[in-house]
């Protein structure tokens, strides 16, 4: 029951966030210089064409009126039609968003797989060589631009070793996982560095806790002590960080998708900014906002599960 009401409260809190983002996006999008027609038609269009097309998109109406239309449509579940792709925005988002979702999910998983054991190793060998090596490596990961890491990965694992395809996106689910592995790894590279740092220090904090000593005094097996007592408590703060970083991860996806030619929402976002594709841009930010909020919610619930003190 307390968990339920906790979840309910978080969902209610999401509403103002999404509304806020809706308004900001709408305004921001319209502040961008240029208009969809000129973005789309390029240099060659003559003024008459531009005006004719903008008018056909309803962009000649006053902005408040446009906003009302937009709000009305959003509430009826209609996000409009893409200006550039001439497809319903919902269709496009349903095509592109799952790709990004899968990419970030894989990246998050890989990051955890990388970060957790190494954080343990570093924490246990604190201030020793292993610790220094691990931290140094992750520092490099943290300081390398995503696109650079990406191209490096492609060159090494794709073109040279041929372990993985060089970018692109497969047809079947398994094939897609295979294609997404390198981009996910690229994204995970810096993400896991952040996680590792945090987890390492929280493990160091937890490992000296009295309850860990008590667990040892109970004569528990080291494995149980490490997982049940140390890791679980150490993860609490890492999960918070994880949630906070999800947004950043989506941001990283923008560049990763370009480098790896993954047809995801990140690239769509950039394209629609450059193409002034207002409906897509608006629809996508809303979808992303909801998605990120849901991720927050998920991490919150996970955290409430990890730490029963949270859901009072």
């Amino acid at each position: 029951m307390p968990l339920f009401s906790f979840v309910l409260r978080r969902i209610l809190q999401m509403i103002p966030t999404v509304v806020f983002i809706l308004v900001v996006t709408f305004v921001l999008v319209r502040l961008l210089p240029g208009d969809p027609a000129s973005a789309m038609l390029g240099d060659r269009a003559i003024d008459a064409d531009v005006e004719r097309i903008n008018a056909s998109l309803g962009l000649d109406k006053p902005i408040p009126v446009q906003f009302l239309y937009f709000v009305k449509n959003v509430f009826t579940g209609d996000l409009g039609t893409s200006i550039a792709l001439k497809l319903p925005v919902t269709t496009i988002i349903m095509q592109r968003l799952p790709v990004t979702l899968m990419l970030t999910l894989m990246a998050a998983l890989l990051a955890l797989i990388l970060a957790v054991p190494l954080a343990f190793l570093a924490a246990l060998k604190r201030e020793q060589t292993a610790d220094a090596v691990i931290r140094g490596t992750f520092q490099v990961g943290l300081s390398m631009p995503v696109f650079y890491v990406g191209i490096l990965m492609l060159t090494v694992f794709g073109a040279t070793l041929k372990w993985f395809p060089v970018g692109g996106y497969g047809d079947t689910f398994a094939d897609r996982l295979y294609h997404l592995f390198l981009p996910a790894l690229t994204l995970a590279f810096s993400f896991s560095a952040v996680l590792m740092r945090n987890l390492r220090s929280s493990i160091i904090g937890v490992i000296n806790a009295e309850y860990v000593d008590f667990a040892r005094a109970k004569g528990l097996r080291p494995r149980i002590i490490m997982t049940r007592h140390v890791l679980r408590n150490a993860l609490i703060s890492t999960v918070t960080l994880f949630g906070l970083q999800i947004g950043t991860l989506f941001g990283g996806a923008v560049i990763t998708e370009t480098v790896f030619a993954v047809p995801g929402a990140g690239r769509l976002m950039i394209d629609s900014i450059y193409g002034r594709d207002y409906p897509v841009l608006q629809g996508l930010t809303i979808a992303l906002a909801v998605l990120v909020s849901l991720t927050f919610l998920a991490t919150d619930i996970f955290q409430a599960w990890l730490d029963p003190r949270v859901a009072r």
């Binding site: 038609l41 003559i46 060089v166 030619a261």
Partner: protein, 502 residues
């Protein structure tokens, strides 16, 4: 020749909209000819015309009409016959002033009529020397009227959206599937009329798959690893390297692509006096630019200096020596004459993240510094740049151009002829050039027309509002097993005669 197989081709961006009339961009234009056939086809050098859906064509002596005879037994990809009615309807749609942005290419068409089941007659408003060339251009492609009109939607635009999702077409290939932003799959059109060297129907390939690979490096890596058979837009910096790669053919297809800098020639910009309005200043700046150096830096020797504002692959191009050979002394004295001995501050719009444009601008910055001109680079995205361009408030910008039609009229109408877009939105205007252009548009005597164009080029190259830089071929890298692939100077990719080694 070997038949069969699917060729995978890496493109830098996905297509947007596969309607021949209503599309807007090169990403569509350059592949449309694989889907939709036109009455006439461009020759391989891109300068002439050859038979397409029509086998015979005849312009009347007064130049006011064109008679075309359709090929026997031609069919759409659904097997239905291509009738003169389809042709008439398609051409009228292309010429409709309210449709898309390409109708100016066929603006001379007044009406299209049919005669019998073979003949189509174009009635023109005035003699049009470029009409045959226009009939090779993508927007005059022939679509099945019935299927199109049966598509859901109230307006032509709505119907086009539905139709373009699963087009019934007349070209060598048909669209099989399209995963937006990722892959587009074309398969052979069983009803295509073309015949191959072996006498069997074209195309040789079972299909073509386009993969969207926006990052240059990724595209090349993928080609290297054999996952794709060809890649477009190889960065010039890699051309030399790929030429020497054993498993690849580094193709440099002749093109009509010209790279230049546009200078706003208005006396004032946003209320401030504009030194660029002085032709002497523009000439000085032209002389101060070392084109060879820029070609070396930016295109790594792939390009060559422009000899006119239009490319040497454009019909009726004149000029045999590079424009404004580097001459810094002359540049300085011109600046002095113009009263800008100390130079001035100015700026240039550069497309954000575009390495070539940044490279050019950086080089210009250095070169013009010799004249005391301080050039500020402003990286902006395309929409912003277009907006400033269209509003005429930019100072300078970089730009590139490729022709869509095998005729000098398109480029001239934009670059020179002020009524179209104010000569590249620069506000430049020359009465004589405008008059010559007007005349040339109706001049069916080829020699006379060539003379008109020679004069236009003379005027524009001497005092026009641009810094002509270089022309470059289309760099396409192909796997050694690819044969018969063609990109014509207008940019169109032809897969109809391409084949793969087994």
């Amino acid at each position: 020749v070997e038949r069969g197989g699917v060729m995978t081709y890496g493109r830098y961006a996905d297509s947007l909209f596969l309607d021949p009339v209503l599309n807007d961009a090169n990403v569509d234009i350059w592949i449309l000819s694989n889907l939709y056939d036109t009455l006439l086809l461009p020759t391989d050098d891109g300068k002439g015309v050859q038979a397409g859906l029509a086998t015979e064509w005849k312009v009347s002596d007064d130049g006011m009409s064109v008679n075309l005879t359709l090929r026997d037994g031609i069919q759409f990809s659904d097997g239905s016959p291509i009738t003169p009615a389809d042709v008439a309807w398609s051409l009228k749609r292309a010429a409709n002033k309210d449709n898309g942005i390409w109708n100016f290419l066929v603006s001379s068409i007044d009406d299209v009529t049919t005669e019998g089941d073979k003949t189509v007659v174009l009635k023109l408003k005035h003699p049009d020397p470029a009409i045959l060339a226009a009939l090779t251009v993508f927007n005059t492609a022939i679509l099945p009227q019935k299927v199109f009109e049966a598509a859901a939607g109230a307006t032509d635009a709505d119907k086009a959206k539905v139709f373009a999702e699963h087009p019934v077409s007349s070209g060598p290939f048909v669209l099989q599937s399209w995963d937006r932003g990722s892959t587009m799959k074309l398969v052979r059109n069983e009803h295509y009329w073309g015949k191959g060297e072996d006498g069997k129907p074209l195309p040789y390939l079972d299909g073509v798959t386009f993969e969207v690979l926006p990052d240059d490096a990724t595209r090349i890596l993928k080609l290297n690893s054999g996952e794709i058979d060809g890649a477009e837009f190889i960065p010039y910096s890699r051309v030399e390297e790929l030429k020497s790669a054993g498993n690849l053919n580094m193709e440099l297809f002749p093109s009509t692509r010209v790279q230049y800098v546009t200078m706003n020639a208005r006396p004032q910009i946003k209320g401030k006096d504009n030194p660029l309005s002085n032709p002497k200043v523009r000439q000085a700046m032209n002389y101060a630019v070392n084109k060879d150096a820029i070609i070396a830096i930016v295109t790594h020797g792939v390009g060559k200096p422009l000899t006119s504002y239009m490319s040497s692959a454009t019909p009726m191009h004149t000029g045999d020596k590079p424009l404004y050979a580097y001459d810094i002394e002359k540049a300085k004295s011109l600046m002095k004459e113009a009263g800008f001995e100390k130079g001035f501050d100015t700026s240039i719009l550069v497309l954000a993240g575009n390495q070539d444009e940044i490279g050019i601008a950086t080089a210009l910055q250095q070169m013009w510094a010799e004249l005391g001109i301080k050039l500020e680079l402003q990286q902006v995205d395309n929409a912003t740049r277009t907006q400033q361009y269209r509003d005429g408030v930019f100072t300078m910008r970089e730009a590139a151009w490729t022709d869509d039609i095998a005729d000098p009229n398109e480029i001239t109408s934009y670059f020179v002829y002020s009524p179209t877009i104010d000569a590249l939105h620069t506000g430049w205007k020359n009465e004589e050039a405008d008059k010559l252009f007007d005349a040339s548009q109706k001049e069916i005597d080829a020699t006379k027309r060539a003379a008109q164009y020679a004069r236009i080029q003379e005027i524009y190259n001497a005092e026009g509002p641009i810094v002509p830089l270089y022309e470059t071929p289309y760099p396409v890298a192909l796997s050694k097993k690819v044969h018969g692939f063609l990109q014509i100077p207008l940019g169109n990719n032809f897969f109809g005669r391409a084949w793969l080694d087994k």
